[in-house]
Symmetry: C2
Subunit: 353 residues, 2 copies
């Protein structure tokens, strides 16, 4: 940092709740009124962090709706409110510490990293990353982080994938989908990937998928899935919800597993304008299991340890191809979230500061 | 049987496939052109059965649609076709046998019992029931049969019910629902039952439910469920699908289980006229499991043995109250199915011949 710009500590603030049916960068504002904190201002147990990169993820859209627009009538999770610095999963480096658990130079990752260049954080709000310089900090937002672990939980823990089965995955060129494809292929499954452009379906095939569907050009979804997987679907890894999910339900085999990992078509949507899922009754006779998958409760479990072991081995052996769609500069973060919702990304979206 | 009527072997035939959106007795016909088979006409491995009672169940509606109207685009299950004798789960007595496994007087139960007074059946198409006369043949269609076992599978095997949790059950005064209520109460759960009349909700409370909802008079479903279960729902045993299911999804707790056991609102329906389920995305963050439950694959499993043990004990100790809605005479069977779909039953519907 140079001495002039370093005094300004730019941050991104949610300026107002985003209404249903809208995903726009205009609901964020850039605030340059704060100064970089001085290390002398730290309290015991606090560290000063230089934010290195932020993870841009679909679930963020859930939390920037007004509480009355949240998808559950139970108490909504109020992570974000207008006027506060926005946050997401992120990585950074400790540059000053008044914590006895962390030292200057430590690399860290946290689930609520502020969208700000420098941040004072409590030492219970993040974890220390290996100092091994063969892995980059970005890796911990990608192939060694949430997207990959989410894929692992879906394919292995919930999906119980078995060789010879057929797995269908939507958003297959995205952050999570690309790993789903490769973990399933490594286990001997037949894999069909779904994506929204020919570039993306080409990418999906290049990382091992046996077939790919461009949902924007394939015509009738039910028939497109049937053509790509005439043997039927044993596992569906869903990140989109909506009518593609509904069509998949008509192509499931007995005992199939559906992993609900995201719902890009309904997160933040005005549901009165959506069609709804009409084929849930097909789950009954086929005894299908449908299960929601959310990353955060699994952090620190045995499944995470197993995942890190397997994925690190795959990375070291060059057996996994993880594409990062990197945006540069904190101020690009709001538009990066919009691009994710508009499908204008290829791979895992991160913002490097 | 008297000598005059015994020569005619009345049967019920599906005369044509039932169209979407219609459930009517007019698609069945009564055929009196056949004679009671003579015992001398049996081939090896066959028995002559006097049909005693037939089980009238919601899933029958799935199979009397034309193949193109079936809920799955996979090969539909073609149990029934126009012109054939209709069938369902049933019980009866062997009156003549050319099987070395069965003898005259044996009581039997089968999954495809013909809707006919007397039937020639192959000896691999049914199972022998205990000869203990303390249990009636009807019990094997009810408290010791499919409805009870289905309830057990939902509450115990899939639901993993734990004391202190809250269970919501729709069609709570019906064949399966009444057992769900009592099995859950026996395990220390709080139980909320849903039914379609004040008579039915009174019945639901009389067998132990802590609260009951009359879905025809309760107003907004989401609020009605919230009022009856402000602590949230841990297990939902669903036999109706549709908008009540959708409303329940907004009242689930983290880690909840939804058992899809039937879908009275969509079986045989014209789905283009239904609203669809819009709140599936709430399953994600709460990591809800939704699982289809179908009775037939569980017959003969350890779960069935466990069920028979537990339920027989409850019956012998007078701890379970199972209501049968008995219709008399084979010719009442088609209307009994219609009444079930119109909610005009109270308890398990059987037709006693």
């Amino acid at each position: 940092m140079n001495s002039k710009s370093s005094s300004i500590n730019t941050r991104i603030v949610l300026s107002e709740y985003m209404p249903k049916g809208v995903t726009s960068a205009s609901y964020f504002s850039i605030d340059k009124s704060q100064q970089v904190p001085l290390s002398g201002s730290l309290a015991d147990g606090q560290v000063l962090v230089k934010v290195f990169a932020l993870s841009i993820d679909p679930h963020l859209r859930i939390y920037i709706s007004a509480p009355e627009d949240m998808p559950s009538s139970d108490d909504p999770v109020l992570l974000y409110s207008p006027g506060k610095t926005f946050s997401s999963i992120g990585v950074g480096t400790v540059i000053a510490s008044k914590s006895n658990k962390f030292h200057a130079g430590d690399r860290i990752r946290g689930s609520e990293f502020p969208w700000q260049e420098f941040a004072v954080m409590n030492d219970d709000a993040f974890e220390k990353l290996p100092s091994d310089e063969s892995t980059s900090l970005q890796d911990y937002l990608g192939v060694l982080g949430m997207p990959s672990f989410t894929a692992y939980l879906g394919v292995v823990t919930i999906g119980q994938a078995k060789a010879g089965e057929t797995l269908l995955v939507s958003a297959a060129s995205g952050a999570v989908g690309q790993v789903v494809v490769q973990l399933a292929k490594a286990r001997g499954l037949r894999v069909v990937g779904v994506a929204g452009s020919d570039d993306k379906t080409a990418r999906v095939k290049s990382i091992g998928a046996d077939a790919a569907i461009n949902y924007k050009t394939c015509g009738d979804y039910v028939q497109a899935i049937k053509a790509a997987a005439p043997e039927g679907i044993d596992i569906y890894f869903d990140s989109v919800g909506g009518s593609f999910l509904d069509a998949t339900l008509l192509n499931l085999n007995t005992g199939a597993r559906v992993i609900l990992c995201g719902s890009m078509t309904t997160f933040g949507a005005d549901k009165s304008a959506t069609d709804g899922i009409k084929n849930l009754d097909t789950l009954i006779v086929k005894e299908v299991t449908m299960k929601g998958l959310y990353y955060f409760p699994h952090v620190g479990t045995q499944a995470e340890a197993d995942f890190i072991q397997e994925t690190t081995d795959m990375v070291n052996q060059g057996k996994i191809d993880f594409k990062i769609d990197e945006r540069v500069g904190l101020e690009s973060a709001p538009q990066a979230l919009v691009d994710l919702y508009e499908g204008k990304n290829l791979g895992k979206v991160i913002v490097r500061l």
